[in-house]
Symmetry: C2
């Protein structure tokens, strides 16, 4: 029985994570989640990507809205807005309970790993769900309008400022969380899967933890990724806009994603729409697998999860 | 035009405060509210009595439940309870917004007076609503089971422990808030009204602020109270139980209330049911006014408010 380390950001990554959770026993996978988007708001420690994974794996996510909890109400927020017009972050009444509980436990000295695990278990998640790090590592978007904390860039300014670079404040002092380290040191580690999240905003924060990128490039088990780009477009969020603003040689494409990860990847799954890129990606030394990556149903999520395991197996053999 | 300083605790006091607010122009009255019940919960600064006054004067209070806001929802609390079984304080989704907003502003260095005034104005209250003090002064209930912060005694232990004494932690360093001081120094000050709140738990905290009790006993304008006891019973809360536990000579009665305040009062309003106590109270040197004090309608609240002004006028003349 192999164990897999799955590296993920928020919404897009959570879809593949859900598929993987459905085809693998709880003890066979560790979901390591980006915390670069974490921020403090009104005194609460908010971990957007951890919450997305938690709600998704617990079956509590709102699939229509695409984020947050099902059966959510907004009476806290609407009341707050009568007091403070500058309220810009969408905090649902149920969602807020998670932030308050987390903040309270962190203030008591618990680590983010402990708090994340506690919440996941209380909500009935049996898989390992861990933050990438227990230290503060914050994604900072360097824009033409100045440096912006990720949530300011993403929510407050709706990803409109032009991105010049992305920095990870605090990465020098960050260490992999115990759960990630433990997964990596398991003798039965079978592979590492990078979910189709934004490579620059959601995966790079994890890769910026000292030693981790080098470790992945040297590790003997296969490291694969699922490209978040389909036909030159991103499903959601600012990925596409950012990739254009970065003046990448291959533009917003799965080839650019392969380039970005080439030092750590052994294989990549790209969408059937991008099959024509296979030769160029293979030329980078990567195994390419083509399939349906637009995860519009649970079956497709599970199929893509199976395809990840198949690609890892192919690379290993 | 005279100005009146009204001293009040939560629910019972808020009823008279509402009556007074309906018969007096906004600039003619300052409501000074007990903050001895304030506490920190999950990192929030909660001011139960200020909130009760705020919701009542803004017409946002839930009159059926008797506390909290109208049209309240409880999704935050129910979610929190799935995470933490020890959650004991009832926090509605709308109510929570007030606590979060207050806590956020206090953390920015604003005073409780500034925050209270800001919230009141945002909710459309035109009267002066001020905390008794901007410093931390906490009511501690000394019980047979040990010392308990007020909310622990009142909510968590449902006022069951036997009360031996009541202490006011931090009173030595507390000063009257600017709004109370300003009301007291107005040349047009016409009187001081103590609302029918629990004398020991809701009014004594205010009287424990150094110099205030002496000031009230010496002040030249009339100081009156409305007794919270009707026919040996309190309308609500632990007043009656506490008064019995304190082994007062006159038991749980308006006579005991008059005794308790005798050094500062010039007059007191007692219920018609207690008219027989008038002679004993008059013997203490107080002007007694008898009337309907069970405020079951807005008209009765306004009538009782008028009776307060009439008693002050009678004492002055």
């Amino acid at each position: 029985m192999s164990h897999y380390l799955v590296i993920t950001g928020g919404v897009g990554g959570a879809k593949l994570a859900l598929g993987l959770s459905k085809i693998m026993p709880a003890s066979d996978v560790t979901f390591a989640v980006n915390t670069g988007d974490d921020f403090d708001y009104l005194g609460f420690h908010i971990s957007p990507d951890i919450d997305t994974l938690t709600y998704t794996l617990a079956g509590l996510n709102d699939t229509d809205r695409g984020w947050g909890r099902r059966e959510e109400s907004w009476n806290f927020l609407s009341t707050l807005q009568t007091l403070d017009e500058e309220t810009w972050f969408q905090l649902g009444d149920r969602d807020l309970a998670i932030h308050v509980y987390r903040t309270s436990l962190l203030a008591q000295g618990k680590t983010l790993s402990e708090v994340t695990d506690g919440i996941a278990k209380k909500l009935g998640i049996s898989h390992f769900l861990v933050p990438m790090t227990d230290q503060s590592l914050r994604t900072v978007v360097v824009t033409a309008d100045g440096k912006l904390p990720f949530q300011d860039y993403f929510v407050k300014y709706q990803a409109k400022p032009v991105v010049e670079a992305i920095e990870f404040s605090g990465s020098t002092g960050a260490r992999l969380s115990p759960g990630v380290s433990e997964a990596l040191s398991r003798p039965e580690l079978g592979g590492v899967i990078i979910c189709p999240s934004n490579p620059y905003l959601s995966i790079d924060p994890i890769l910026s933890i000292p030693g981790f990128r080098a470790l992945l490039s040297e590790i003997t088990v296969p490291v694969i990724a699922v490209s978040p780009i389909i036909g030159g477009k991103a499903i959601k969020g600012p990925t596409e806009k950012i990739m254009h603003e970065m003046n990448l040689e291959a533009g917003c494409s799965s080839l650019s994603v392969a380039h970005h990860y080439r030092d750590i990847l052994d294989g990549i799954i790209i969408d059937t729409m991008d099959a024509a890129l296979s030769d160029d990606i293979t030329a980078l030394g990567l195994e390419v697998s083509v399939g349906e990556t637009l995860m519009t149903s649970l079956q497709i999520k599970k199929d893509l999860a199976q395809q990840c395991l198949a690609l890892i197996e192919k690379i290993q053999s």
